[in-house]
Symmetry: C2
Subunit: 423 residues, 2 copies
Amino acid sequence: MKADIISIGDELLKGHRVNTNAPFIAIELGRIGIPVNRIITCSDDPKAIRDTVTDSLGDAELVLVTGGLGPTRDDRTRTVVQELLGRGLVSDPGSYERIVDIFRKRGREVTETMRDQALVIDGSVTIPNTKGTAPGMIIDCGEAFGNRHLVLMPGVPAEMEAMMKLTVIPFFTPMSGAFIRHTPIMTMGIGETQLAGMIVDVEDGMPEHTTLSYLPHAAGVSLMVSTSGTDRQAVEDENRRIVDAIVSRAGAFVYATADETLEEVVVRTLIERGLRVAVAESCTGGLVSSRLTDVPGSSECFLRGLVTYSNEAKEDLLGVDAETIRLHGAVSESVASEMARGCLRKSGVDIAVATTGIAGPGGGSPEKPVGTVCVAVASKFGEGALQVEASTFTMHGDRRLNKARFSEAALRALLARLRSFSV
Amino acid sequence: MKADIISIGDELLKGHRVNTNAPFIAIELGRIGIPVNRIITCSDDPKAIRDTVTDSLGDAELVLVTGGLGPTRDDRTRTVVQELLGRGLVSDPGSYERIVDIFRKRGREVTETMRDQALVIDGSVTIPNTKGTAPGMIIDCGEAFGNRHLVLMPGVPAEMEAMMKLTVIPFFTPMSGAFIRHTPIMTMGIGETQLAGMIVDVEDGMPEHTTLSYLPHAAGVSLMVSTSGTDRQAVEDENRRIVDAIVSRAGAFVYATADETLEEVVVRTLIERGLRVAVAESCTGGLVSSRLTDVPGSSECFLRGLVTYSNEAKEDLLGVDAETIRLHGAVSESVASEMARGCLRKSGVDIAVATTGIAGPGGGSPEKPVGTVCVAVASKFGEGALQVEASTFTMHGDRRLNKARFSEAALRALLARLRSFSV
């Protein structure tokens, strides 16, 4: 069984809205072993909807449609499908009651529009809408369409998501014979080509039901190992075997084999070890602190961040020596080291990271081009000695991308220091 | 002339990645009057690519394909298109030189893979890749395909975006007969329903070739006014007239009628007025500073940010009175005001903003639920008196969404204060 996803909406075709519904549906279907064959975005126009649905019903056993089920006049999905299948409409009493109830609570009168919204296509299974008004429908399209299934849902993400989880996934689970396991392998500090070179033999010997995807992102590349099959245990075992084989080759660059962000791993490691961190940032402008504090519970380990953009702030807040800045420049490993050391001392933490660099577009020079960043980590664990280590990296992006990559380098440096320290 | 967009990648079908390339391309095409007919996401599988490209070439005059042009083996677009059109490959010397240059700078040897990446389909116009290695291609598919055009680009967003702006849009501009003008109207501090009520008469009298879209986002709603036609001047005039009519009604909530972010407007305003800013953050964890420093040139006005997550840091770095925290709690307008005042004084700036709140998921209470934020702005312009003003807002999101909304509230408060101050 495979699925097509159809996303209806002119706002998607104009690019005014990003399609987040399709990936949500794809992930949910993946969990019950239904692969997605195509995702098609088409216009609100009835002919476009009809052509696209017809085409997909010839292509996939399950076709899920979002959009065009609301009360406004550009919502035409139900009518089009009704005509395509040659079926009438019937009122769904449960939906009608819920709609009337919602509007009464808002102090609104019951109107003909509400009655219309509670109509479903004859012979369909109603998908209750727990987050809005219009119900969804699961339709067996009948013999003319090889008994393929059509699922109609609203385009509003919260409504669609609740429908998928509460009704659609439970409905189709028994029909799916397959089981899929996806394992992400999150890497840092390595590019796509180099990574591919390290695991070429694993890729060459990949079993038929396992696939490997490269997912490049702003700061590097991650892998996704996907295994499908009908025997849950066999799928789990094979997936684990491939993941282990990749980690055994590229382990130095792997920071997680779960869907964890780098900041989540850093915060988790800090909390597990009872360590506290502070951040001193120049070029990253608060992004390192912001990423760490994106993680729930980070207040257990993150005490403070200092965004010292001006030289004066570096001297004033971190005790960086004006002479060091004069001699080496604000973007230098010496200044980064003094920032980290000052941040550690003044904040009373166990580990501190500092960034200073040139995010661009201005400010570069031949020796220190745009994209240069110096990262330093200072640490003093327990009775140990103070350690300060600095490195320089060069990135090749625009300002925002450089900031993202700089912050990634800082988090990587933090994690590397944490991992080098045995409890 | 209309376009189909094909996004290739198993990771998109599995839902592991959201398709942000298609909306980017759609917006760029919209600017030169080429509407998008369909957006199709298909698998890396050669047959799927071939079928989808063939289908789209029967459907649209212009087909833009992203994905499958990199160095790894799941990148098969070029081969499939080559076979479909029955053409050979030729080396593109410019691309080869650039690739070799990139790898030499990184201290890597020249390999066969690099030579392969510089190959383009015979008879195509090369799209230089200014952000990566593999070049893109614009292909006139020949008489067999009605001389329709196929554009191949990598799936890496930064690479594709540069290609669209530098080569693809200039190439197709002369072929498009139509002209479209989109003007965004960026609002703050108002919801969709309320905004719609204010401009109902403008919507009712909207001319035929102009449409108005509501684009709700994390922190509010923006509008997009789109006008199309063949006469550039008439399109511009009509679009301007509608935008002016909306601004005349909802102007108090409009912060920009260009594609400007709130942080861009804040930084521009600060620089125009020669003012300097500092930021004191608790719950936003560095995000306000990071957003301001996302703007090129922000170092002209942004001096420092202090992420005072712990109470001790608030006292230590900002001089917040421990007694104020004890009496009112860390999340209070009193503490926010002391943070802003302390930040202004200690940083020697003209204006400072402070945030303290509860991003969640933990830390809420009946009086101060998760989502509560207190924002304070302290300012002292020229010879004027010190002014401190604080407000409290309640947001309803998860941790990251709350942080985003909190930071939006802080930037809004900054901008409101700047606008209330006449030079």
